[in-house]
């Protein structure tokens, strides 16, 4: 049987434009391409980000002269000595405790949702749930916090709900508790806690869901095959493999809570959190060195937390 010989197709070379030539020269010089791509963000990172960060750390080693109110631009540890007074330590403790409580609660609430999205949701439902999880992030954070203030206020819908359901005694006894209570939910640590859990939820759901999706179905089948009841499979296989996701999420919730001042400012009482202290030192008191030193503290806490998380392999899931 005679097969016609194939003729050679149209040549690419003839159609080359200057754009093609630039493309080819970049293709042949991958390092140049990398430099062009990474150059702008690297300059930004080095100059703007690291520049302001080092300026911040430098400021924390200056000191405010208590008599003249002038910043003495000489390196000293005096500001850090001021930082470690009992009143300030209480602020650190309060903020860190809140950040820890918020992280734990967010993880507990986010896990079932993430588990459902990763394991059971159909592609369509999954898309809708993604939207529902991310939708709040499209509106202003300030507006959302303020809405929560209205929801939690004495005249708000939550108090009304408890009153209508004849459960006012329950809410009142919770609000009478020391530390977490207050005159109403909108002026209490409990209120701050509720709002923090709400605003940071997406940052916890998504990493947990990502870590759960990376667990192959066959691992769960293997566990059942070896005799494990579904609960045992969850405890011995699913949960340990989701821990990196939980830790990754908690890095977000923990650090965001440490640095936030809007929520405690809107819903708190006179007990300061770190963010509020920084705000007041940069504002009325105009003690920039102390404000800078205050900011270094959450950075130090986060550094310790990140090192611990890294040891546990949490950063692999980011």
């Amino acid at each position: 049987m005679a097969v016609p010989r194939l003729s050679v197709g149209p040549s690419l070379v003839a159609t080359r434009s200057w754009l093609h030539r630039i493309g080819t020269s970049l293709y042949l010089r991958p390092r140049l391409l990398l430099a062009l791509l990474l150059g702008p963000p690297l300059v930004w990172l080095l100059v703007v980000y690291l520049g302001s960060l080092s300026s911040l750390i430098l400021q924390s080693f200056y000191h405010l002269d208590p008599f003249t109110g002038q910043v003495i631009r000489r390196l000293t540890l005096d500001t850090y000595r001021d930082l470690l007074t009992p009143a300030h330590l209480e602020i650190f403790g309060r903020t860190a405790a809140m950040a820890a409580a918020v992280s734990v609660a967010t993880a507990v609430f986010a896990f079932p949702l993430a588990y459902y999205v990763a394991r059971y949701a159909s592609p369509r439902v999954k898309g809708l749930l993604y939207l529902a999880i991310l939708l709040p992030l499209w509106s202003s954070y300030l507006v959302r916090v303020y809405s929560w203030r209205l929801i939690l206020a004495k005249e708000g819908i939550l108090h009304w709900f408890f009153a209508t359901a004849n459960l006012e005694w329950l809410l009142d006894s919770v609000l009478k508790l020391p530390v977490i209570g207050g005159p109403s939910l909108s002026v209490s640590f409990l209120g701050i806690f509720i709002v923090f859990v709400y605003v940071w939820m997406p940052y916890m759901v998504l990493p947990i869901q990502a870590s759960l999706e990376r667990v192959p179905q066959s691992l769960l089948e293997a566990s059942g095959d070896l005799g494990a009841l579904p609960g045992q499979t969850f405890r011995h296989v699913t949960l340990p493999l989701a821990v990196p996701g939980v830790l990754a999420g908690s890095i977000f919730t923990f650090s965001l809570t440490l640095g936030d001042f809007v929520v405690p400012y809107s819903l708190g009482n006179s007990s300061y959190f770190i963010g509020q202290a920084v705000l007041s030192f940069t504002g009325t008191a105009f003690n920039i060195p102390l404000a800078a030193a205050f900011t270094v503290v959450p950075m130090a806490i986060m550094a310790v937390y990140l090192i611990a998380a890294r040891r546990l392999g949490a950063l692999d899931a980011l």
Binding site: P216, S223, G224, L226, G227, A228, V237
Partner: protein, 349 residues
Amino acid sequence: MNPGSTPPAIRFRSVSRLFGDMRAVDDLSLDILDGEFFTFLGPSGSGKTTCLRLIAGFDQPTSGSIELHGSDVTSLPPYEREVNTVFQDYALFPHMTVAENIAYGLMIRKVPKGDRARQVREMLDLVRMPGMEARKPSQLSGGQRQRVALGRALILRPRVLLLDEPLGALDLKLRQQMQVELKAIQQKVGITFLYVTHDQEEALTMSDRIAVINRGRIEQIGSPADLYEHPATPFVADFVGVSNLIVGPLAMSLTGSADTFAIRPEKIQILPADSKPPDGRVTLEGQIREVVYLGMITRYLVAIEGGHELTVIKQNRDTTSMEVLAARSQRVLLAWDPQYHRRLAPEAS
């Protein structure tokens, strides 16, 4: 079943599994005997893995029932069935060491720690990985993971072990070595192995019996020699080894009957075009169209009358590659003994 005789290790009674309109398993009935090395052999998508998952309990049949050692397990979850599985992707727990992986089933059954350690040691000896207790799966090679997966399933001393293409990811040499080892382990522990593969050579190497599965149905069940020498259907003739299928008028002219028959390529002799074949041989004239030199053997494609082609395989015992390659486009005479004709049942659909 006769009273007093052992019930089969696995029994399928008219099992079907539908995925939408697709009949993954189609009214399948089957007995697998206790202590047998039994293989489901079929192409991908034939339903063989679905059968395995039905036995393990990861999936439920749409209709029909499955018995293990005489008791109906159709509606039991995996953790209540006395079978264990070696998975295609091994499914080792990445956060556990080799020892913890192998001891997982014992841990679930609350076997004391010291006992577990001893059994893990024995199991690592059996799969020839002594002293590897503390490694993590990520530090093991494919073959080693395979052995750990095997040990993890065998430590529970199941009466039936299910293996889902466990050697698929290994390279050829290692695969051949593991085939021999798996068979040896099966004979040593004396339990039923149900093996799933698409690799006919693997199936022929290890199995006591093979079920060839195609489109959710069993084409033929038999010993490796049976399947190779007496294929019942065109599919089996083609899937197990290579066959020349002779159909219609050509079959009529050679045998006097229009029934399709198969002839294996190694049974055909290639003779010079002008030679006189021995008596009683079926002969055909042809022209060599293609010569594929494969080292140990050479495969010839020979064009014959009516546009057909026959595959002929010859051992390279007394020839060099130069000589066999020079045979291209030569006219030849093909001859074979008609006792090797295998009459086939017509294709199912």
